[in-house]
Symmetry: C4
């Protein structure tokens, strides 16, 4: 940890800290949009169970939103693995990304309550697309001319990461269009996107490269 | 802090940061499910006191949930002591674990309001069991074939940690069954589990080992 | 950063991370207990101003609670400056402390709404006293027989830190008693305690000692 | 990382952790002040869209508040780049700054609901001005006689940072005055301030200086 690298690390560390904080809060707080069923009289076991079951669109909307946030958090995480420096524009692009992230709990509440409404499906999709595009802009800005990454970062890593980030927004455009035909099919597509990201991909190479380096275990 | 260990540390550090954030928020926000009593007319000292006393099931539910979250946080903490690397699957298993954690404030609000309802006791238990099983899955995945831990990590540590993690879900299954007989006895069992975890155990060995190493104090 | 000190640092770092998270959330979220005034018809400028002015007990309760949380956060911060190791009991004492901290937003909402009620003043005080005593227990446990601190930590530091922690709970006992005579005087005493802690004290010596060491500036 | 610098780093790190936490929470939670439209009957697509469109003052208020928080977070971030030590007064000045930050979600909710009311515009502006002045006080305290910064920190950096911090509060004074004439023009000025801060400035020199140092890339 040399004197020159410390300030840079600090800056990057604080953007990461704010990002992790915003994501942790957005992911945890969306559950507070789902309210415990209220009854005038003490409910029967069946009555309470049925009321909980009726909340399923809210729970589905919550689960999708949680894992979409997870996708973007992992995406941000992967990007920052390659970031070496920061600058003012980069900071503000990150804040625009985070602004879009903080709107997701509102959009999630909207789709949880109006899952059968095209307007809700579209608003939700637009929010998720904007978030993905801001994340893409962060990556583009950092890698253009290798501005904030290592000068020898391969074009393949840059391209694969870009592709991976853009898959979600593209799929969400399809989900919005699908929502004009059938809102349930649209929701299913949103869910499918989160499952797709569970699968391994080329961008994981930084983990594999690391594994190889670590083969002779170091303490 | 060599060049090879830094990326690994970063990744692990950010999962920890997100985890600590989610736990801190879930633990702190549950209190917002307990509302200050409202009155049409300014209440008497006795009236306000009585209203607060009537909130006891909510406070009990809150306290149990806080310390169950504490148990899982300590469990995660202990696991990560042994984690040396991460990979994509590991990351997503952690997100599934966190997803289940974020549902706990909802379940806690449910049991706080319907502490005398089997449905609520079962829902609460199911949430806590799922959380414990995801935490177990994280550990299993990391230690199978010593995938993400030191190659020489003893089988005893792996087994003892597994046992310790699984005690809570097993006890919560019993609590659900007990709930069909008596919901108060069920709540008492939930509370007993949190007290059990206060007691020392074999998995603490990493602390004791550390103590021994530190005997010749290092500044 | 030797191999032996790292695990210890990690553990301590995560307790600090959870603590900082819980405090940040409790301090920030209390404001959500103060609701923007609602009107049936669009209010006049004077009407809105008057409604805001009527919220003063809530704002006073909020400000006192924020700075009491600040006192305990600084207290925890000062303690952890001296902590070298952790163990299971220490971890759970910290969780008990944090549990009491998370109740403060509820107590603050209670006193904000019922600032003229002895019951509210007593409940609030009891919560703050419990928090202070748990913080004291953390310090006592860590320093008894120099269990988790440097073996050569002076008795003077231990004693002064204890005194400083205990001043707040003792003053809060007086505030509760005063509340039986006059609730406004009681609130004033709560406020006075936070101001007292702004003033410098003997426990600041660790800062002063550090300053001296740093006199020959090290980049 | 020498033995002398570590305690200092720790203290600074925890103030940063609390600050990042408070900002992340305030920035993320303000969205919870905007409520999903409720209907007695299931709304039409147009009806839901219109209700969302009617929320625009809340969204504008939210966006302005988010980016004003961003400005102050970046400002704090820039200051801490130069901070080398901390002391008790500095800690409490930071807490006063954070107290003012935590009031912003309330002020944002107020202006979101009463964007056409002078009282709301004034209250909002006063909160933002107070926050800026506390941030200025933190910087003044730290740099006076180079109290907590490097002894050789240039007067130019100190002065430029002061100017940059003070631009926002001064503009907000104008926004309050403008609010007495036209509340929309006032809101536009608040928004213009956030855009101004997107632009580069002299205080960015620490980034540029770092870039130069890093020219011969270090791993």
């Amino acid at each position: 940890m040399s004197a020159t690298s410390q300030p840079e690390g600090l800056t990057k560390a604080r953007i990461e800290a704010l990002t992790d904080g915003v994501f942790a809060i957005a992911m945890t707080l969306m559950i507070f949009n789902i309210h415990v069923p209220q009854f005038v009289h003490s409910p029967s076991a069946v009555g309470l169970g049925r009321s909980l079951a009726h909340l399923w669109p809210s729970f589905i909307g919550y689960a999708i939103s949680f894992f979409v946030l997870g996708i973007y958090w992992v995406g941000h995480h992967n990007q920052f693995h390659f970031i070496r420096k920061t600058d003012r524009n980069f900071l503000w692009l990150n804040l625009l990304f985070l602004f879009s992230v903080t709107l997701i709990p509102f959009s999630a509440a909207l789709i949880g309550q109006y899952s059968d409404q095209r307007t809700a499906v579209t608003f939700y999709g637009a929010n998720l697309i904007a978030t993905g595009l801001f994340l893409f802009a962060v990556w583009k800005y950092a890698t253009n001319g290798r501005r904030l990454v290592d000068a020898d970062l391969s074009s393949e890593v840059v391209r694969k990461a870009s592709q991976r980030i853009l898959i979600a927004p593209v799929a969400f455009v399809l989900a919005i269009i699908l929502g004009f035909v059938n809102t349930r099919a649209s929701l299913a597509l949103y869910a499918a996107v989160t499952i797709y990201y569970f699968l391994p991909s080329g961008i994981d190479m930084h983990w594999q490269a690391r594994d190889r380096k670590l083969k002779p275990p170091t303490a």
